[in-house]
Amino acid sequence: MTQDLRSEFHGELDAVRNDIARLGAYVVELIPRVTEILLQQDLEGAEYVLRADADIDVRTHSVEERALTMLALQAPVADDLRQVAAALRLAPEIERSGDLCCNIAKAARRLYGRELDPKLRGAIQRMSDQAQQEYREAVEAYLNVDAVRAAAIGDMDELLDQMHRAFIGQIFETHAGSAIDLQVAVQLALIGRFYERLGDHAVNISKRIVYIVTGWVPEHVSDDRQRAQAAAEAHTGHPGPG
C-alpha cells in the first residue's frame, strides 16, 4: 500500500473520529438543555429538540457507513482496526443517548402544567448535572484517547445510580403525601431512569476508549469465567452450580 493511500486512510479515520466526537459533544450540551426544558416547562424548546433528533440519526448512520467502508476497503489492523471497530460501537451508543434526551423532552410535554416539589426539581437537576459530567468526561477522554480518564467514569456512575435510587424514594414519599398523583409519579420515575441510562451510556463509551488504548473489553471477564467454568465441569464430570 502506498504512502498516499495510508495518509488518505488516516485522514478519513480522523474525520470519523471527529464526527463521533461532535455527536458526543452535542449530547453533552443536550443533557442540560432538556433538563431546563423539563424544569421550565418549555414546550417550544421540547419541540425544537425533538425535531433536531432526525439530524442526529442521519449523522450517526453516515459515520457507521463510512466506518464500514473503511473496514471493507482498507482492512485496517492493530490500533487503526480498534479505532474503526470502536467507532462502529460508539455511534449507536451516542444515537441512543440522544433518544434518551428526546424522551426527557417528551416527558416535559406530558408533565406540562404540573407543579413539582422543589425537592424533586433539585434531585432532577442533580442527576442531570451528574449525567452530563460523566458524558463530558467520556467525550473528552475519547478526544484525548485517555484510558485513565475513561476508567474513572465507572466510579462516577455509581454516584448517579445512588441519586437515581434516592430519587425513586423521594417520588414514593411525595406520592404518599398526596403531593403528586400516580400519573406524575410514573412520569418522574421514567425520567429518573432516563438520566440513569444516560450515565450507563457514558460508561459504555468509556469502556470502548479503554479498548481502543489497551485492546481489552469487559466481555473478556465473562469469557474467562465461562472458560474456567467449562474447565471445572470437565474436571469433575458434572455441571457446577449456576
Partner: protein, 402 residues
C-alpha cells in the same frame, strides 16, 4: 476588529499592513518590516495570543494554517469540538465569499454564548474570530428586564390604589370604608418600600458617602438578626450564629466599612433565609476568617434549608427586581431589590457575595469582605460569660455581642 487596528497603531503601521502580516506569518515567511516597526513586529502575534478572542486562519483550500492561543485553548474539550464544527462551517461558507456569523450557545454550566464570525481574506483564504459574548448578552438581558420589572413593581401597587380609591367614591358603609382604606395603606406602603429601596440602592451604587470606620462584624450580625426576630418567631425559624468575634468570645472581628450598609446587607441575607425556609427550618450564620489566593478575607455565611434556587436563576438573582417566582414574590412581600443591595455593599467594600444552592435543599450565601489590619484590642471587654450561639427566640442574649 477594533483590537486589530489597535495592534496596528502600536506597531505604527497601517491596518491593511497588519492583515498582510498575518498572512506572511502563516506562510512562515519572515519578511523584514520597515524600520520603526521592526522591533515591535513580533509582538503582534504576542498580542494575538494575549487576546481572548479566538482567531483561526485558513488558506484558499480551507486548510487551517494558524490558530492563536485562545483558539487552541479549547482543543480537547467538548466545547472545542462544538466550536470547531461552527468554525469549519463558517470557513466553508467563507470560501464561497460569504461573510457572516454564527452564534454557538453552550448550556454549560456555566452558560456561554460564542459568536463565530468569518471574513474572507484577499488571498482567497479566510479568518474566523471566536468571540465570547456571554457578558454582553447578559447585560442586554438585564437592561431590558430592568425596565419591564421596575414598571411592573411600581405599577402593581399604584393600580391597586386607583381601583381601591374608585371603590371609595360611592361607598358609605363605614366598615367597608375602613377595610378599603386599610388595604390602600398597605399598598401605599408597598410602593413606598420599593422606592425607599431604590433610593438606598442608588446611594450605595454611588458609593461616595460610605464611611470606612472599623466595624465589628459580630455587632453587624447581631443587628441583622434583630431586624428579623419578629418574622423568625412568627415562622418558628431557629437562627443560630457562630464563629469568630461572636457572643464576646475571642477578639472582635473587624472590617473597615460602613456599619449601616453592612447591617443592611447581612439583614437582607438573613431575611431571605428566614422567608424562604420551611416553617421550623434552621438558619445558620457563621463568621469565618478565610484566605483565598493569598488574601485575607472575612466571610459571613448565611445558610438555610429552604426551597433553594433553580440553577438557571442562580446567576441572575443579584439583578434589580429579578424574581425567581413571580407568583410567590407577592406572598413573601419583598421589593425585589434586597440581593442587589447586598451585592453593591459587597462591591463597595472591596468584597463579593457568592451563592450556592440546590433547589429543594436550601441556599448558602457568603458575604466576603477584605479583612482589615490586625484586630485592635476591644476597649469594652465582655461583662460576663456569653453564649457563643443564640436563637432568634431569645432576643435578649443578642445584646451581648452587639
Amino acid at each position: 476588529m477594533a483590537w486589530l487596528l489597535g495592534a496596528a497603531g502600536v506597531a505604527g503601521v497601517a491596518a491593511g499592513f497588519t492583515a498582510g502580516w498575518i498572512l506572511a506569518r502563516r506562510r512562515r515567511i519572515a519578511e523584514p518590516v520597515d524600520a520603526p516597526a521592526a522591533p515591535v513586529a513580533p509582538s503582534t502575534f504576542t498580542l494575538l495570543d494575549a487576546h481572548r478572542t479566538g482567531v483561526v486562519v485558513a488558506d484558499a483550500e480551507g486548510r487551517v494554517t494558524y490558530r492563536n492561543a485562545a483558539a487552541q485553548a479549547m482543543t480537547g474539550t467538548h466545547v472545542g469540538v462544538l466550536v470547531d464544527a461552527a468554525v469549519e462551517k463558517r470557513l466553508a461558507l467563507s470560501r464561497h465569499g460569504e461573510a457572516g456569523d454564527e452564534i454557538v450557545e453552550l448550556f454549560g454550566p456555566p452558560k456561554q454564548v460564542l459568536d463565530v464570525v468569518s471574513r474572507p481574506l484577499p488571498d482567497g483564504g479566510s479568518v474566523v474570530f471566536v468571540d465570547d459574548i456571554t457578558e454582553r448578552r447578559r447585560l442586554d438581558q438585564v437592561r431590558t428586564d430592568f425596565i419591564a420589572n421596575v414598571s411592573h413593581e411600581l405599577k402593581t401597587p399604584i393600580g391597586a390604589l386607583s381601583v381601591l380609591a374608585e371603590m371609595l367614591v360611592d361607598e358609605t358603609d363605614p366598615s367597608t370604608v375602613g377595610r378599603v382604606v386599610g388595604r390602600m395603606m398597605s399598598e401605599a406602603q408597598r410602593a413606598s418600600n420599593t422606592i425607599d429601596d431604590l433610593i438606598e440602592l442608588s446611594r450605595i451604587e454611588l458609593g461616595d458617602d460610605r464611611s470606612t470606620d472599623p466595624v465589628k462584624l459580630g455587632g453587624v450580625v447581631a443587628a441583622a438578626i434583630d431586624r428579623v426576630t419578629e418574622l423568625a418567631t412568627q415562622r418558628q425559624i431557629d437562627i443560630t450564629a457562630t464563629g469568630a468575634g461572636l457572643g464576646g468570645v475571642g477578639s472582635p472581628v473587624i472590617v473597615a466599612g460602613d456599619r449601616l450598609q453592612l447591617v443592611s446587607a447581612v439583614g437582607n441575607l438573613v431575611e431571605n433565609a428566614v422567608k424562604y425556609s420551611e416553617p421550623g427550618g434552621p438558619v445558620r450564620i457563621r463568621i469565618d476568617p478565610a484566605t483565598v489566593d493569598g488574601t485575607e478575607w472575612l466571610e459571613i455565611t448565611v445558610a438555610d434549608q429552604g426551597v433553594g434556587i433553580p440553577q438557571r436563576d442562580l446567576a441572575r438573582i443579584f439583578e434589580r427586581f429579578y424574581r425567581v417566582d413571580r407568583a410567590r414574590s407577592r406572598g413573601t412581600g419583598g421589593t425585589g431589590l434586597g440581593l442587589s443591595i447586598v451585592r453593591h455593599v459587597a462591591t463597595n467594600h472591596g468584597g463579593e457575595v457568592i451563592v450556592s444552592s440546590v433547589e429543594g435543599e436550601g441556599s448558602t450565601f457568603v458575604l466576603r469582605l477584605p479583612a482589615s489590619q490586625p484586630a485592635q484590642p476591644d476597649p469594652t471587654p465582655p461583662t460576663g460569660p456569653q453564649p457563643t450561639t443564640w436563637s432568634a427566640r431569645q432576643p435578649t442574649t443578642q445584646q451581648g455581642a452587639a
